[in-house]
Point group: C2
Chain length 270, copies 2
């Protein structure tokens, strides 16, 4: 593999995944990943542009940012690209009235959305809200529609909490796709539209940006397909087999965000 | 399409699906489908062999048969091919110790199975048991295994209860397949082994038997792939679009079991 200097040449901005890179979620709000608070602070003091690109769909951006700030991270709401606000834009543009299968923590993002007489289903990481009853209700709404539309906030397989691996929205999206014989539209990583909106908000071209994430598919492959570079951290949901993924090869693997920032500050934008 | 006489020539035995053909499940045990009690009685008085081939995995065979007898059906336990007993045979043959994600109603079928220190997961139609917590536990067990084995009792998309369509085990099987990056082994319809075991128990060759079911894939396509003929009833989960399925064409469509039995008694084994 080429030297780091070559791999990171010309990088002017960094897109950061949140869960598994900054912190691991879990009981009591979760815990920062060792070194990440300081690494983010160093990154923000540099000349590199920084934006956060998350599939977090259990919490509103306000709650997410509040929680991260309490953990010590330098982050504000305006710096976060998240799937719930992106979904609201789509719903309004297309005149869609959703049945919401979502976590209560993110419901406030949909306050301005008309949910009467639903003509689509929106599914997000509902956590304990993925009861049989709630899944069955979403299924029944879809089966009643002539043209069933299912919007999924991300399609992650699982994520890591302090207590262990947890099923993510992608598993439940697949369940509804199979039961209804339909294909969901994914809003969030790895959808190219989602990465592009984050790039627009940074004011950078894809080749000038690098994604740092713990998900070899959602983060690394998704960003690369958009023309960005991508590093995978060995924290969060990272598994050693990711480094031998049959289809995806990151532009680099680093132990954690701290190592990624060390390398970026040393080699980027040279 | 050929005349019924031609289509039913040489039939010597009938495999009957239960849910959606004999009765629709639901609150209070469900209700017989109009005409089915009498149709089954007539069929059993004929010279045709009769066996029941079900993917029912919420109830033990004992409870299922007891419930059907209370609804007036002439059925006994020894006449039923069901996935739970078939699964127990597989577990014993392969030395598998399952983590069980199943309905309490079928748990007694697994009484003789060692479930300590699980090295596989068995998933059945758990109904309300498909909580996030239970799904996550099954997921975590699979992710801990070096060679994850997932046995699924059927892979139905949904079934019909008196209150409406209900998500079936197949949706949750797909969720675990996706989350773990594995493929489940299906025990039950449409698995060829399952149909073959039912044929063995009737002592018939595939070309001598006909399946009657409400599921265009699980019943009709599954039986046809084994060399049987198959009728779809327009009861249970039948939907008009099934008659224009892109890949599956039943040997006939009938309004209900009563019509199927009329035709069979008139034309079969001639």
């Amino acid at each position: 593999m080429a030297a780091w200097g070559e791999r990171l040449a010309g990088v002017r901005g960094v897109l950061l995944d949140i869960s598994g890179v900054l912190y691991d979620g879990g009981e009591g709000g979760g815990a920062p990943i060792a070194g990440s608070v300081e690494a983010l602070a160093r990154l923000k003091r540099s000349q590199l542009k920084v934006r956060f690109c998350t599939n977090e769909s259990q919490k509103s951006r306000e709650d997410l940012v509040g929680m991260l700030r309490r953990l010590g991270f330098d982050i504000s709401e305006g710096e976060v690209t998240a799937p719930a606000p992106a979904t609201c834009l789509i719903l309004k543009e297309r005149g869609l009235r959703p049945h919401l299968l979502i976590h209560d923590g993110v419901r406030s993002e949909f306050d301005q959305i008309d949910t009467s007489n639903p003509n689509c289903v929106v599914i997000a990481d509902a956590g304990e809200g993925f009861s049989y009853q709630n899944m069955n209700k979403a299924f029944q709404v879809l089966m009643e529609l002539e043209n069933p539309v299912l919007l999924s906030l991300g399609k992650g397989r699982y994520y890591k909490e302090t207590s262990g691996l947890m099923l993510d929205v992608g598993a439940y999206m697949k369940a509804l796709e199979y039961a209804c014989g339909i294909e969901a539209e994914v809003v969030g990583k790895p959808s190219p539209e989602f990465f592009k909106s984050a790039l627009r908000e940074m004011g950078l071209e894809a080749h000038q940006a690098i994604m740092i994430g713990d998900d070899i598919v959602g983060d690394v492959s998704g960003a690369q397909r958009c023309g960005m570079r991508a590093l995978q951290v060995r924290t969060g949901k990272f598994r050693p087999s990711d480094e031998h993924h049959p289809e995806v090869k990151a532009d680099g693997y680093v132990d954690n965000l701290a190592e990624a920032v060390d390398l970026l500050l040393q080699h980027a934008d040279k």
